[in-house]
C-alpha cells in the first residue's frame, strides 16, 4: 500500500474509537472513580493499568453500563452509550471479556467460540427450524471461522473438550477468541492475564499482537506490567480512582508518580 494512502487513512480516522469523558462513580461515600477521561485510538492497543483496587474494572463496568455512572459520558464510534443495554452495546461492536474467565459451562470449546459469532448471524430461528439451505450454510461458515479461531490459539485439538475442563490459561484464550469471533470494532479485555503463568502470559501477548495486526483496536485493563509494556501503544495509569499519567509505555516507565503508585515510595519499598 502506498504511504500517502496510509496517511490519508490515519488522518480520517483520527477520531478515537472510544472516548470516555469525566466518568465519576461513588459507592456509598467512597468516590471509586473520579473524573476519568481517556480515549482508545483506532489500530492501537490502549492499556489501562494501576495497582489492585485502583478502579480499573469499575471503569470497564461503567463503559459497558454494567454499573451506572454518577456522571460522565462514553462515546463509542461517535454514539453516546448512555442507557444502552449490554446487548445493544455488544450490537454496536464493543465486545468485552470478563476478569474471571466466563466460558460457557456445559458447552464444548468450539461451541463456545461459535456463540461469539451470534452477533453477525442473520438467519432466524425459523429458518434454522426448517433446515433451510441459507441457515445451514451460515452455520457451516460460523463453524469454519470458529475452527480458525481455535487454530489461532492452538486449541484446535481440544475443539470438542468441554470448556470448563480446560486449564485456566486455555479458558482465558478461549474467551478472547470468542470475543474476536464477534468481529469487534473495539475489543475490551478485563485482566486477561490474571491467573496465567509466564508462558501463558507470553502466548496471550502474541495473540494480542496478532489481533492488532488484524486492525482491531484493543482496550485492555491489566496490572501485569510486563505484558502491558510489551504490547500496548498507549498506557493510561489509574490510581485511587483517578488518572495519574498517560503516555507511551516508555514514558510511563519513567514517570515518577507511576513508580510511586506501583512500588510505593522508596521508604516503603525498603521496609
Amino acid at each position: 500500500m502506498a504511504m500517502t494512502g496510509d496517511h490519508a487513512n490515519a488522518s480520517m480516522e483520527q477520531a478515537s474509537v472510544l472516548s470516555a469523558r469525566h466518568l465519576t462513580k461513588s459507592f456509598g461515600g467512597l468516590k471509586a472513580i473520579n473524573d476519568v477521561s481517556f480515549d482508545a485510538a483506532p489500530n492501537q492497543v490502549t492499556a489501562m493499568i494501576g495497582p489492585n483496587g485502583a478502579g480499573k474494572t469499575t471503569v470497564f463496568n461503567l463503559i459497558t453500563n454494567i454499573l451506572s455512572k454518577d456522571a460522565g459520558q462514553v462515546r463509542f464510534l461517535g454514539r453516546d452509550l448512555a442507557r444502552m443495554s449490554a446487548v445493544k452495546i455488544a450490537g454496536l461492536g464493543l465486545i468485552r471479556t470478563f476478569q474471571s474467565a466466563r466460558v460457557f459451562p456445559g458447552m464444548t470449546a468450539i461451541e463456545n467460540v461459535m456463540v461469539g459469532g451470534h452477533r453477525l448471524a442473520s438467519h432466524s430461528g425459523a429458518s434454522q427450524t426448517l433446515w433451510l439451505r441459507g441457515a445451514r450454510n451460515e452455520e457451516r461458515r460460523i463453524l469454519r471461522r470458529a475452527e480458525e479461531m481455535l487454530e489461532l490459539v492452538g486449541l484446535a485439538p481440544f475443539r470438542d473438550t468441554h470448556a470448563t475442563e480446560l486449564p485456566m490459561g486455555a479458558q482465558k484464550l478461549l474467551e478472547v477468541v470468542r470475543a474476536l469471533m464477534a468481529q469487534p470494532k473495539l475489543l475490551c479485555l478485563d485482566e486477561p492475564a490474571a491467573g496465567l503463568n509466564d508462558t501463558e502470559t507470553q502466548e496471550l501477548a502474541n495473540l494480542l499482537r496478532a489481533i492488532r495486526t488484524l486492525g482491531i483496536p484493543v482496550l485492555i485493563v491489566e496490572h501485569n506490567m510486563s505484558l502491558v509494556m510489551n504490547v500496548a501503544d498507549r498506557v493510561v495509569v489509574i490510581d485511587s480512582g483517578a488518572i495519574i499519567a498517560k503516555g507511551t509505555p516508555s514514558e510511563i516507565q519513567n514517570d515518577s508518580r507511576v513508580i510511586e503508585a506501583y512500588l510505593g515510595s522508596e521508604n516503603d519499598a525498603a521496609s
Partner: protein
C-alpha cells in the same frame, strides 16, 4: 359480623398450619439456599400413621400421635441424608427444588400404595363439642392448633437465637463455605434443618388432621400453601413466614365464604402472583436474600449426552422405521394407547426440554398449558363444532395469550422464583378448570369431545391416532433439532450457563427466553388438544399439577437437553404401568423415586446411558478416546 368472626377463626386455624409449614420452608431455605417441597408429604405421612395407630390399632391417641411424629421424623431424616444432603453438594438450587418435588411425588405414591386413595377422618383430640364464647363457637381442635404452632415458633426461635447449634445454623445461612472453614459441619447442619422442617411438618400434619379429611395427595396442598405463604411473607424471614401463613389462611377462608369455595385457591394464587410482581422477595425482607446466587455459581451445568453425527442419522432413521412398524406387531389396544399417550406427552416434553434443558428456565406448571389447549379446543369443537385442526390453533392462541401475560412475571424472575411462579400458574389453571363449570365441566370433566379428524377423515382408533402422533412427533423433533443444533440452540445454552456473558456477546437474553417459552407453550397446548381428542374427554387431574411434576420427572429421567430423552422417560412411565397392570398403583411412587434417582445417579438420564452404550458397542475395542492436557501455543500470524 358474627359470621365474619367465625370465619376469621377458621382462617386463623388454617393460617397457623400454613405458617408452621412456611416456617419449615424458611428454615431450610436460610440454611441451604434451597427449597424443600417434600414437607407437605411428611405432614400427611405423619397424619396417616397417626390415624392407623390411633384408630385402626386402637392405641391411645397420645401415644399414637407421638409415635407418628417420631416415625415420620426418622423416615424424613433418613431420606434427607441420602437424597437432599448429597444433592445440595452437586446440583443447582433449581434442580434441588425439582428433586424435592420428586420426593414429594414419591411420598405421595408410597402413601397411595399403603393407604389407598380413600379419605380418612381423624377424631379431634378433645372431643367433638366446641367451646362456646357467647355467640361464637370455637372447635377445641383450634386451641390445639394454636398451641402447637406457638410452641413450634417459640422452640425454633430459641434454638436458632439462643443455642450453639443455632449459631451453627445461622453461620451456614450467612456463608456456608466460611462456616465450613470455621469447623462447622455444614452437611450436618443441612440435615438438621431438613429434619427440623420435617418435625414441624409432622406436628402440623397430626394437629390439623382432625379438621380436614386426609387423602394420599392432601400433602401437596400443605406443601403448596406453605410455599405460597412463605413466598408472600418473604422466604428468607421467620416473621415473614408466620405473617404470610396467617394472611393466606384468612384470605382463603374469607374467599371461600364470600366468593366461592371453587375459587379460593385461585385467589390465593393471584395474591401470590401480585406479590411476585410487586415485591419478588416477599412482604418481609430477610437478611439472606442473596444466598441462591452465591451457591449456584460453583455448580457447573452438566454435560448433555451427544451421539456422534455419523451415528445419529442412521439410528434416527432406524428408530422411525421401527416406530412405523410397531402397530403391525403390537395389536393390543391398551399398549397402543399407552404408546399414543407417550407420543402426545413427548410433544410437551420436547417443548419443556427447549425451555428447561436448553434455556435453563424451570417450569413446574407445564401441564397448565396442556389444560388450556385441551379445554379450549374441546370447548370449541363441542359447542361450535369447530374442526379439530382449527380448534387446536384456537387452543394455541389462547395459551400464547396466557403465556404472554405470565411472562410479564416470569421474565423478571429466575431460578426458585420462576419455579414458584410457574407452579402457581399451573395451580391457578387447575382451580379454574375445576371452577368454571360451564366451560370445563368442573371436577367431573369435559365429556363428548370428538375424535381428531382432518377434512372429514376421522382418527378414532388408537392405531390411526398412533400414526398422527408419530408424524407430528417426527416433524416437531426434526424442526427443533434443526434449531437447537444451530445458533438458536447455542444462544439458549449460553443464556442458561451465563446470562451476563451471553448479553455481552450481543445475545438478546429476554427475546430468546421468551421464544423458548412460547415454543414450549405452543407444544404443550398442542399436546393438550391431542390428548383431549384422543380420550374424547378431559378432566382437571389429567392435566393438573400432578401431571406437571410427572412431566418434569419424565424429562429428567429421560435426559435433559437432548430433545429425544423425554421420549424415553415418557415411554418408561406410561408403558410400564400399562404393560404390568399390578404395577399401576406404584406409578406415582416410581415417577418420584426415578426422578430423585436420576438426579443423583444418572445426571445424563436414560438417554445418556443409551448413548454411552451405543458408542461403546460401535467403537472397536482398545480405541479409547485420548485426551492429554491441552498445550496452548499462540502461533504468530
Amino acid at each position: 359480623m358474627l359470621e365474619f368472626l367465625q370465619i376469621c377463626i377458621g382462617g386463623l386455624v388454617v393460617g397457623s398450619i400454613y405458617a408452621a409449614i412456611a416456617l419449615g420452608f424458611s428454615l431450610v431455605y436460610r440454611v441451604t439456599g434451597a427449597i424443600n417441597l417434600s414437607q407437605g408429604g411428611f405432614a400427611i405421612i405423619a397424619a396417616m400413621i397417626g390415624y392407623t395407630l390411633g384408630v385402626s390399632f386402637g392405641w391411645p391417641l397420645w401415644v399414637a400421635i407421638r409415635a407418628a411424629v417420631g416415625v415420620t421424623v426418622a423416615i424424613g431424616t433418613m431420606i434427607g441424608a441420602f437424597t437432599f444432603v448429597p444433592a445440595l453438594a452437586r446440583l443447582s438450587n433449581a434442580n434441588v427444588l425439582m428433586l424435592t418435588a420428586g420426593l414429594l411425588t414419591a411420598i405421595e405414591g408410597a402413601a397411595l400404595v399403603v393407604w389407598g386413595s380413600q379419605p380418612y377422618a381423624m377424631p379431634p383430640f378433645s372431643g367433638e363439642e366446641p367451646l362456646v364464647f357467647g355467640p361464637i363457637r370455637v372447635p377445641t381442635q383450634a386451641f390445639w392448633v394454636f398451641g402447637a404452632t406457638a410452641l413450634c415458633i417459640a422452640a425454633l426461635w430459641f434454638l436458632v437465637a439462643k443455642t450453639k447449634l443455632g449459631k451453627g445454623l445461622r453461620a451456614c445461612a450467612e456463608n456456608p463455605s466460611a462456616a465450613g472453614l470455621m469447623g462447622i459441619d455444614v452437611p450436618r447442619m443441612t440435615l438438621l434443618s431438613f429434619a427440623l422442617a420435617t418435625l414441624i411438618a409432622a406436628i402440623a400434619g397430626v394437629i390439623i388432621a382432625p379438621t380436614t379429611s386426609l387423602q394420599f395427595d392432601t400433602g401437596r396442598l400443605f406443601t403448596i400453601s406453605g410455599f405460597v405463604a412463605a413466598a408472600i411473607g418473604g422466604i428468607a424471614s421467620f416473621p415473614g413466614a408466620i405473617i404470610g401463613g396467617i394472611f393466606l389462611g384468612l384470605a382463603t377462608q374469607l374467599a371461600t365464604a364470600y366468593i366461592s369455595s371453587l375459587f379460593s385457591t385461585a385467589i390465593a394464587l393471584l395474591i401470590l402472583l401480585a406479590v411476585l410482581i410487586w415485591r419478588p422477595s416477599g412482604l418481609v425482607r430477610g437478611g439472606a436474600g442473596k444466598r441462591q446466587d452465591t451457591r449456584d455459581e460453583a455448580k457447573a451445568v452438566g454435560h448433555a449426552a451427544r451421539l456422534p453425527v455419523s451415528l445419529a442419522w442412521p439410528l434416527a432413521a432406524l428408530a422411525i422405521v421401527i416406530a412405523v412398524l410397531v402397530p403391525f406387531v403390537v395389536t393390543d389396544n391398551g399398549i397402543l394407547s399407552g404408546l399414543v399417550i407417550a407420543g402426545i406427552l413427548f410433544m410437551t416434553l420436547m417443548g419443556l426440554d427447549v425451555l428447561m434443558g436448553y434455556a435453563g428456565q424451570v417450569s413446574l406448571g407445564q401441564a397448565g398449558f396442556m389444560a388450556i389447549g385441551g379445554y379450549t379446543s374441546g370447548y370449541f369443537s363441542i359447542n361450535y363444532e369447530l374442526a379439530p385442526v382449527l380448534a387446536i390453533f384456537a387452543g394455541i392462541g389462547v395459551s400464547l395469550v396466557c403465556a404472554l401475560v405470565l411472562s410479564v412475571v416470569t421474565l423478571r424472575l429466575r431460578g426458585l422464583y420462576l419455579a414458584l411462579a410457574t407452579l402457581a400458574f399451573g395451580l391457578l389453571v387447575d382451580s379454574c378448570a375445576v371452577g368454571f363449570l360451564d366451560i370445563t365441566g368442573g371436577p367431573s370433566g369435559l365429556v363428548g369431545i370428538p375424535s381428531f379428524s382432518v377434512a372429514g377423515f376421522e382418527f378414532a382408533t388408537p392405531r390411526s391416532m398412533y400414526y398422527v402422533v408419530l408424524a407430528l412427533d417426527v416433524v416437531i423433533l426434526l424442526g427443533l433439532a434443526g434449531a437447537m443444533r444451530s445458533g438458536f440452540g447455542r444462544a439458549l445454552k449460553a443464556i442458561r450457563s451465563d446470562q451476563m456473558a451471553a448479553a455481552a456477546l450481543g445475545i438478546n437474553t429476554v427475546r430468546y427466553k421468551l421464544a423458548a417459552f412460547m415454543i414450549s407453550v405452543t407444544l404443550a397446548s398442542l399436546a393438550g388438544s391431542m390428548y383431549a381428542f384422543f380420550f374424547n374427554f378431559l378432566s382437571p387431574e389429567m392435566v393438573g399439577t400432578g401431571r406437571s411434576l410427572e412431566l418434569v420427572a419424565m424429562l429428567i429421567v429421560g435426559g435433559e437437553s437432548t430433545l429425544v430423552g423425554g421420549l424415553l422417560g415418557a415411554l418408561l412411565l406410561t408403558l410400564l404401568p400399562t404393560v404390568f397392570q399390578p404395577l399401576a398403583i406404584y406409578k406415582t411412587f416410581a415417577s418420584g423415586a426415578l426422578l430423585v434417582a436420576s438426579f443423583l445417579y444418572l445426571p445424563q438420564g436414560l438417554y445418556g446411558a443409551v448413548v454411552q452404550m451405543t458408542i461403546r458397542l460401535v467403537r472397536p475395542r482398545g480405541e479409547a478416546p485420548k485426551e492429554s492436557a491441552p498445550k496452548t501455543t499462540a502461533r504468530a500470524l
